[in-house]
Amino acid sequence: MINLLVLFIVVPLTISVINLFFPVVIRKGLTFLSSVFLLFLCYQVYLKSPADFLMYDRLVFSIDKLGFFTLIFSQALSFIILIFSLKGVDKEIQSSFFILFPMTVAFCNGAILAVHSIVLMIFWGLTGITLYLFALLGRTKDTPKTAKKTFIIVGGSDVFLILGLLLIGFLEPSSKMTLWNVHLALSGELAITAFFCLLIASFAKAGGFPFHTWVPDFCQDSPIESAALLPASLDKLLGIYLLARMVTSLYVVTPVIYLVLITLGALTVITAVMMAMIQHNGRKLLGYHAVSQVGYMIMGVGSGNIVAYVGGLFHLINHTIYKSTLFLTLGSVEKKTGTGNLDDMGGLAKKMPLTFVAALIGALSISGIPPLNGFFSKWLVYQGMFEVIAGSSKGIQVWLLVCLVLAVFGSALTLASFMKFLHAIYLGKRPKSLDHVTEAPANQLVATLSLALICIVFGLLAMPLPLNKLIFPILTQSGLAIPEFFGLYDPMLIFWLFGSAFLVGLLIYFATRRVRLDENYLGGMESEEKFRIVGTAFYNEIRQMSPLRSIYNWAERKYFDCYDMLSKVAFGLAHFFSSMHRGLLQMYSLWIVFGFLIMLIIAVVIR
């Protein structure tokens, strides 16, 4: 019997190699077939119990409920993104795109299925490399810089991953370098160092504060399909998967760490969303949101509360769904209009109604509007947070309450920035230059609308479908109790009530309407093209507010970007040292004496 799990890696990898030798059309077909096959494979895995996989290559690949949960969504998302990419990927990059795509899926699957630390390290690193390759496919002038930045941050974090995993292997030799059931106690410098090494790796991958800076740049400069595939979906899944592993099976986490995680989550939410608000580029805006939503997952997974943990995991998949929707709709718009700058767009709702609907649902979902899926997961996180708060001492209560308020307010800010996003692209007055725009092609619509549909379904049927089928098994497997919140917030009830009220309104409207069409009323002036407000300037007031103004200015000068700051320091040091090398012998001898003195002092101090 062949190990099903190995197929998850072997099949796409093979396709990717085969693709090297065929024309683009066949590449597309083969990739599509492999994707369908993997989905089928997922179903096969679902039918079997986890115990079935324990006998095969236990030390290399295996799967548990958490792994399966991550796996199925990575397959589903990559499948839908593939449908989107079948038509419309830039001609120049098409050939490389369909080689990289299955490769990425393969490596990502490998990282999810890996049970041995070394295997995880290898595949983790390989996904970083495909990320770099995707970044190189970009067609803007900043592409090389962005690709380098991405590679250094993600690749650098791999070093921490290796360090962390090796430390764990060293601290707990009995685990034989596996990732499951280690349950290391978080005490001692080494264990804590290892924990933070892994945390850095997972944050860098998922885009958590303060290692998020590569995400917006990547989203801006790389092809939009890859932005939807990697930072929005697969990398999130991987990063949060690792975090969830850390807090459930790798470590026994102490409350202080939970506090740190919650704080980091809240900070991620608020900083990224504040940056997102003022962006003028659609992709960068979405990129910052891809970061800010990670905050909720970190809060949820890292809060140590079971309800919030469920919420965090649920938010992870919700995020991949609606963020992909938003990226893909933006992709459709960009391909039709030829620009990603929000200033140049407007009024496309009439020209691309279906794309607008998908984008609207995505936007409402990400802002947490009930009864969509985004609200359900946020609601779980908040509820869990309240339970955590209720059980803490008073000082910590205040601290956590502030974090909670930041998170709740973050979703209002998310709503605000998406209203700007929607207004800038789809609403308002349409410039003349966009009159030729037509609706996106069928494959793109299928992709975006099906994602939007999943948003609604997961929102309405959150309890029976994703929670019961996918997330609660994770809890039972980890030996945690299923939280008691059945029969509480019922999205179906909200939906039916709202639907009936809306229907009543519609009936009244249709009974009384007498419609006449007219042009805009502008105090008697003709409705001309120049009279338009683009949504991008909505938040000028907030940008101009002190002290936010200086913070924004610093942020734009990249003061908060660890990569840029480090590179500046590094270049500065290099410059300093190179300027010291004048070729003067006296100078060198002086250096030698100086260095000798320093060593002496250190030696004396140590003794």
């Binding site: 006449r516 007219d518 009323y521 008697g524 002036m525």
Partner: protein
């Protein structure tokens, strides 16, 4: 429809259009809303957008530049809409009849339902006219 007309007569939202007046009628119209005359008693309210209006109060002689705009405003108003011409200028062009820049046939620009003469009309006259307009609306039953 009789019931509806009665509702309409009790809730007239007024939009004020100024077509080259001397400003006095406009000020007297605003005066109607203020404590002494308080047209809100009759459910009359001044609105800012033509889309909300039921009555257009038009003042002035209509110079040639503003006339097309007034026509446009009238067309943009949701029907049923009533036009009240306030002041002597509306009915007889007052002392501006000889100017090179006014429209002779104001009725062609905007069909007026009711004239209120006077330079400016006294607020009492305007209230009387509004009451008449209500009567007209009621009479349409």
């Amino acid at each position: 429809m009789g019931w509806y007309k009665r509702r309409l007569a009790k809730s007239l939202w007024v939009f004020h259009v100024s077509g080259s007046p001397c400003n006095n009628c406009d000020i007297e119209i605003l005066d109607l809303l203020t404590p002494k005359y308080d047209l809100e008693r009759f459910g009359i309210k001044l609105v800012g957008s033509i889309r909300h209006a039921d009555v257009l109060l038009v003042t002035g002689v209509f110079n040639q530049k503003v006339a097309p705009k007034i026509r446009k405003i009238y067309e943009q108003a949701p029907k049923p809409i009533f036009v009240v011409g306030v002041g002597t200028c509306m009915s007889g062009a007052c002392c501006f009849r000889d100017s090179y820049n006014i429209v002779e046939d104001r009725q062609a620009v905007i069909p007026v339902d009711l004239y209120i003469p006077g330079c400016p009309p006294k607020p009492e006259a305007m209230i009387a006219a509004v009451a008449k307009l209500l009567g007209v609306l009621n009479a349409r039953n």
